[in-house]
C-alpha cells in the first residue's frame, strides 16, 4: 500500500526522541520540513534523507522516510549512488558547514557539477557543534574558539559562491526561523531537476549563539534582502534600499528610486549575476540576500546515465550473458 495521499506533518515524525540542544535552530528546520513534505505529493516511501556526521546529520533519524546517517562528509557521494540508480526517489542530503565544506568539500563540489538529482540542505551555524565548539570553514577570520584561543587564521568559505563556482544549477539561502521563506525555497528546490543547494542560516545557541542575529531577529527587514524572481531587488524598513550592478559586474547599494536597480533573474543562464549577488553580505553591503539566487536547467547526471544505458540497449540489444562470455576470439578443443 502506497502511503501517498493525505499525509500531515505528523506522518513524517519518527518515534525517536529528538536530541538536539534546547533552542537549536535544527528544530525549526525539522518542523518546517515535516510540515512541508506532505504538500510535495511524493510518497513517503519514495523519500530518502542521507546525511554525514554532525548535529545536522541526525536529521534522517527524525524523518519517517527512508534514511541513512552515514560518514562524515560523504553524504553527497553516497546519495549520488542512490540517486543515480533510483531516479524514482526524492533524495535529500542534510549536512552542516563542517560536514559539507570541510571534510566533504570535494564530494560537494563534484556532486554539484555533475548535477546529480538530489537536494542538499546545508545547515550553516558557522561552528562545529557536535565536537563542542571548534571553528568551522564558515567561521569568520579571527574566530576565538577552543581550538583557536588567539583567533582562527582561515579565511572562511562563502557557501553560495562556492556552490555557484562549482557549477550548481540551483542555489538558494533560507533562515531557520523564517518558516514561510524556507518553505518557499524548499518547494523550488524540490521542483528543480538536478542538484539543488540550499544554505540555511541555523543558530547554534550553545557554541555560536546569535551568529545570524542580524537576519534571524530582523523583524523590520532592515537586513534581509529578499530575492524575488523578476522583481527589482529592494529592501529596508520602507523598501528604500536597492541593489544595482556596477560596470565591472560587482554589486553596490543604491536607493530604490535610482535608475538601474537590479531586477532579479534566477534563471539567467550565466552564473555571473548569481555569483555577484552571493558576494553581497552583511559585512560588505549591510544586507543579506535571502531566497533563490540561481535556478537554471542543465542535463541531469542520472538522466544522462540512464540515457546511455538506453542507447546502448537500443544499439546492441538487451545484453546476452552467454554471447558476452563467448565474445572475442574463441577456439574449440575437441
Amino acid at each position: 500500500m502506497s502511503t501517498n495521499g493525505h499525509l500531515t506533518a505528523k506522518d513524517y515524525r519518527t518515534d525517536q526522541e529528538v536530541r538536539w540542544c534546547p533552542g537549536c535552530g535544527d528544530y525549526a528546520i525539522l518542523a518546517a520540513m515535516q510540515s512541508f513534505m506532505p504538500e510535495l505529493g511524493i510518497a513517503r516511501e519514495n523519500t530518502v534523507f542521507v546525511s554525514g556526521i554532525g548535529c545536522a546529520a541526525r536529521f534522517p533519524y527524525y524523518m519517517n522516510t527512508y534514511g541513512m546517517h552515514s560518514i562524515h562528509g560523504r553524504a553527497p557521494a553516497i546519495a549520488t549512488g542512490l540517486a543515480t540508480t533510483r531516479p524514482d526517489l526524492s533524495v535529500w542530503v542534510a549536512t552542516g558547514d563542517g560536514d559539507a565544506l570541510s571534510i566533504g568539500g570535494n564530494h560537494l563540489i563534484h556532486a554539484l557539477r555533475r548535477n546529480v538529482n538530489f537536494k542538499i540542505l546545508l545547515f550553516n551555524n558557522r561552528i562545529y557543534g557536535l565536537t563542542k565548539g571548534q571553528y568551522s570553514p564558515t567561521s569568520e577570520l579571527g574566530k576565538v574558539t577552543k581550538s583557536t584561543p588567539m583567533g582562527s587564521l582561515d579565511w572562511p568559505f562563502n557557501p553560495l559562491s562556492l556552490a555557484i563556482g562549482a557549477e550548481a544549477t540551483f542555489v538558494a539561502r533560507a533562515i531557520d526561523t523564517d518558516k514561510a521563506g524556507m518553505t518557499a525555497v524548499l518547494r523550488d528546490a524540490a521542483e528543480h531537476r538536478g542538484s539543488a543547494f540550499v544554505e540555511i542560516f541555523q543558530n547554534c545557541p550553545i557554541f555560536n549563539d546569535d551568529a545570524f542575529a542580524f537576519v534571524r531577529d530582523d523583524k523590520e527587514g532592515v537586513n534581509r534582502v529578499p530575492l524575488r524572481d523578476g522583481e527589482p531587488i529592494t529592501w529596508g524598513a520602507g523598501g528604500e534600499k536597492a541593489l544595482r550592478q556596477r560596470s565591472d559586474g560587482s554589486i553596490e547599494i543604491c536607493r530604490a528610486d535610482d535608475e538601474g536597480v537590479l531586477v532579479h533573474d534566477a534563471h539567467h543562464e550565466g552564473a555571473a549575476l548569481a555569483f555577484a549577488l552571493s558576494r553581497v553580505t552583511q559585512e560588505s553591503h549591510g544586507g543579506t540576500p535571502v531566497g533563490v539566487f540561481r535556478d537554471v536547467e542543465r542535463p541531469v547526471y542520472d538522466d544522462l546515465m540512464a540515457g546511455q544505458l538506453a542507447a546502448a540497449t537500443e544499439k546492441f540489444g538487451e545484453g546476452d550473458l552467454g554471447a558476452l562470455l563467448h565474445s572475442g576470439e574463441t577456439w574449440e578443443i575437441g
Partner: protein, 615 residues
C-alpha cells in the same frame, strides 16, 4: 627447401623493447596465434608505470612473456628460453633472466652508439664476448622492415620503421610454426581507417616470416603439439577481464543491476574501462572524484537495491576503509575488489604483491569482520567474483575480492562455462513487516544471521540506518553496553558462520604420503602448483592446499594443517597468511617469502619445498 622441424614440449618467449615498440601488441598477437594451435598458454606482460619513458632508456622497457606447451601449464614461466630484444635497453634489463644456452634474437640496427649509451653499455655487446653463452641471432630488423616496405604508398619512413615489431612477430611465427593469418585479419581490422598502415604491417609480418624461411641464421624450426585440454570452447582471458565478466554474470545471476564506483588506479582501471562497455547489461559505471566517493556511491546504490561494487588497488583501498566500516554497520552487500600491487604508499604500481591481506582483514577501526575471497588464476577471477557477490548478497556484508597485478594482467585460456551451470545467487528484498505490523530492520535470519534488505520505495518499511551502534532487532541508535557487546558478537558470528557455506579446503597429494604441506592463497597458485610438480618429478612427496577463502577459513583448515609434519607457506609478502595460521591454528608453519614485485618463481619455491622435505 623446408628446414628440419624439431619437436618441443614447451617454450617460453619474452618480447622486450621500448615502450613505443609495440611489444604488448606483438606478444598478445603471438598469443592469439598460439591459442588457435591448441597449446596451453600462460602470459604475463611486464610494463613500466611510465606511459612513455624516454625512448631507449632502461625504465622505458616493456616486455611480454608467453609460455606455451603441449600440456597444461600453470605459470607464464620463471625465465624465457627465447628473448627477443628490440634495443640495447631491452637486452640490458632482460638478459639476466635468460639461462645459459638460451636463444637471443636482437634487432642489431638498434645497437647504435646513442642507444648503447642510454642503456649504459660501454661497448657493443653484439661485438664483444659478453653474449658468448647464448645462441645469438643478430638480425637487422629495422632495415629489413624498411626495405620490405619500400613502394607502399602513403607510408612515411617513420611509419615503416614502426612496423618492425610485426617483422619480429613474423619471424617468431615462422620459427614456432604459428599461423599468421589471424594477425593479418587483426591488422586489417585495427587499421581499417588507414589501409596503407594495415598494408605496411601485413607486409612487415609476411617479410619476417619469409626471412625465417630463407635466412641461414636459423637452421631449424620448432613444433609444439596441441595440449590435451578439457574439451570445450576457449578464449584467452586476463584476470581483470574475467573479473569484469564475473561481475556482469553476478548481476544477471542475482537479478540486480550492477553499479560500479571506481577511481582510476593501476592495475584496477581496466575493470572500470571494461564494465563501462556493458551498458546494455544495465551496468552503471561511476568514475568518482576519489576513492572514497567511489566506495560511498556503491554503498548508496546498494541501499537502493543495486549490486554495489567498488574496485581499486591497495593505495585506493586504504581510503575506502571508513566506507567499508559503514557497510559493516549498515549490513548491506558491497563487493570491494583490491587488485594488489607492490609496496607501501605508491610503491610499484604495475608490479604484483600479496601485501594487502592483513589490511583487508584488519585495516579498520574496532571489530569489523569482512569476508575475503582470493582468485587463484586469471580465469578464476570470473568464478571468484561471482562467489564474492554471492556471499555479499546472502549475508548482507561487504566482501573483499583480493586479486593482484599478476592475475590482473596475466592471461590464460579459459574454458567458457555454460551459463546454465552458473550458480543462482538471487536474493530477496523485504516487502512486508516482519514483527506483527512493524518492520524491524535488524531482525536477523536465524540461519545466516543476515538482516532484511528493505529498499526505498517499499511502502510501510520506511526505516533509518547509519553508522552509530544499532539496537538489536530495531536498529535504533543504542549506547547500551550489553547491546553493543551482543551486536559486536553477532556481526562476528555472521561472518564466521559463512564457513559452513563454503567448500572444504582440498589437498592435492597424489600419492597420499606427503609429510610436508604447502599452503598458499590467491594468485600464487600457479607457481606453487608448478613447484610441487617439480618436487614430485624429483621423487619427493609434497601436498599442496590453496586457500580461496581467507575469512572465514574453510572449516577443515585446522584439521588439514595438523595432518602434516611441516607446513610451508609461500607468499609474496613477509608472512601475512603465515601469521594468521600460526595464530588461528597454533601450527608451527614456516614462510617462504619474496617481495620482489615479480611472481614467485616455481623453481625457487621448489627448492624451498625440497629443503623442507629433506630436513
Amino acid at each position: 627447401m623446408a628446414k628440419p622441424v624439431e619437436q618441443l614440449s614447451q617454450v617460453i618467449v619474452r618480447f622486450a623493447g621500448d615502450s613505443g615498440d609495440g611489444m604488448q601488441l606483438t606478444g598478445s598477437q603471438f598469443t592469439s596465434e598460439t591459442a588457435l594451435l591448441g597449446n596451453d598458454i600462460s602470459t604475463l606482460p611486464d610494463f613500466p608505470a611510465e606511459i612513455r619513458a624516454p625512448a631507449g632508456s632502461l625504465p622505458g622497457v616493456s616486455g611480454f612473456q608467453v609460455h606455451f606447451a603441449d600440456f597444461d601449464i600453470l605459470t607464464p614461466g620463471d625465465a624465457p628460453n627465447v628473448l627477443v630484444a628490440m634495443n640495447p635497453a631491452a637486452l640490458k634489463t632482460n638478459i639476466k633472466d635468460l639461462p645459459k644456452g638460451g636463444t637471443l634474437i636482437v634487432n642489431s640496427d638498434a645497437f647504435n652508439e646513442r642507444n648503447l649509451q642510454k642503456a649504459g653499455y660501454a661497448t657493443n655487446p653484439l661485438e664483444d664476448e659478453s653474449l658468448g653463452e647464448f645462441q645469438v641471432h643478430s638480425v637487422p630488423l629495422t632495415s629489413l622492415t624498411v626495405g620490405a616496405l619500400k613502394g607502399i604508398e602513403g607510408v612515411t619512413p617513420r611509419e615503416a620503421e614502426r612496423s618492425k615489431n610485426m617483422f619480429a612477430l613474423g619471424l617468431m611465427s615462422w620459427l614456432y610454426g604459428r599461423p599468421i593469418e589471424p594477425t593479418i585479419e587483426f591488422l586489417e581490422e585495427k587499421f581499417a581507417k588507414r589501409p596503407e598502415i594495415a598494408a605496411a604491417n601485413v607486409k612487415a609480418l609476411q617479410a619476417g616470416y619469409a626471412f625465417g624461411e630463407t635466412t641461414e641464421s636459423f637452421a631449424v624450426t620448432y613444433e609444439i603439439k596441441p595440449a590435451k585440454l578439457t574439451p570445450g570452447t576457449y578464449r584467452n582471458i586476463t584476470g581483470n577481464q574475467a573479473l569484469s565478466l564475473g561481475l556482469v554474470a553476478a548481476s544477471r545471476l542475482s537479478k540486480l543491476p550492477l553499479f560500479l564506483g571506481a577511481y582510476p588506479i593501476t592495475p584496477a582501471s581496466a575493470i572500470l574501462e571494461e564494465l563501462a562497455g556493458y551498458k546494455n547489461f544495465g551496468v552503471r559505471t561511476f568514475q568518482a572524484e576519489d576513492e572514497i566517493a567511489a566506495a560511498g556511491a556503491a554503498v548508496g546504490a546498494a541501499f537502493g537495491g543495486s549490486l554495489g561494487v567498488t574496485t581499486s588497488a591497495g593505495p585506493g583501498v586504504v581510503l575506502k576503509a571508513e566506507t567499508i566500516g559503514l557497510a559493516i554497520m549498515l549490513e548491506l552487500p558491497l563487493v570491494i575488489c583490491d587488485i594488489q600491487r607492490a609496496g607501501p604508499s605508491t610503491g610499484m604500481p604495475t608490479k604484483p604483491e600479496q601485501g594487502d591481506l592483513l589490511m583487508v582483514l584488519f585495516g579498520r577501526n574496532s571489530e569489523s569482520p569482512v569476508p575475503v575471497v582470493a582468485p587463484r588464476s586469471p580465469s578464476d577471477c570470473f568464478d571468484a567474483a561471482i562467489e564474492a557477490c554471492r556471499i555479499a548478497l546472502k549475508y548482507r556484508t561487504p566482501v573483499y575480492l583480493l586479486s593482484d597485478a599478476y592475475l590482473a594482467n596475466g592471461s590464460e585460456p579459459w574454458l567458457l562455462p555454460d551459463v546454465e551451470s552458473l550458480p543462482d545467487i538471487s536474493t530477496t528484498f523485504a516487502t512486508e513487516p516482519n514483527d506483527g505490523d512493524e518492520f524491524l530492520p535488524y531482525l536477523r535470519d536465524e540461519q545466516t544471521l543476515a538482516r532484511p534488505w528493505a529498499v526505498p520505495g517499499t511502502p510501510g518499511l520506511e526505516h533509518r540506518i547509519g553508522g552509530l551502534e544499532k539496537a538489536d532487532r530495531t536498529g535504533n541508535i543504542s549506547y547500551d553496553p550489553d547491546n553493543h557487546d551482543l551486536m559486536t558478537r553477532l556481526r562476528a558470528q555472521k561472518v564466521a558462520g559463512i564457513a559452513s557455506d563454503i567448500p572444504e579446503l582440498e589437498v592435492d597429494d597424489p600419492d597420499g604420503d606427503a609429510r610436508v604441506l604447502v599452503l598458499g592463497w590467491g594468485g600464487t597458485y600457479g607457481p606453487i602448483a608448478a613447484a610441487c610438480r617439480r618436487v614430485r618429478t624429483g621423487g619427493r612427496a609434497v601436498a599442496h592446499a590453496h586457500l580461496r577463502h581467507l575469512n572465514p577459513f574453510p572449516r577443515n583448515t585446522g584439521e588439514v594443517l595438523r595432518r602434516y609434519d611441516k607446513v610451508l607457506v609461500p607468499e609474496m609478502n613477509l608472512g601475512q597468511l603465515l601469521k594468521l595460521v600460526r595464530a588461528e591454528f597454533l601450527v608451527d608453519a614456516v614462510g617462504y617469502n619474496r617481495v620482489s614485485g615479480i611472481p614467485l618463481r616455481s623453481a625457487e619455491v621448489a627448492d624451498a619445498i625440497e629443503a623442507m622435505v629433506d630436513q
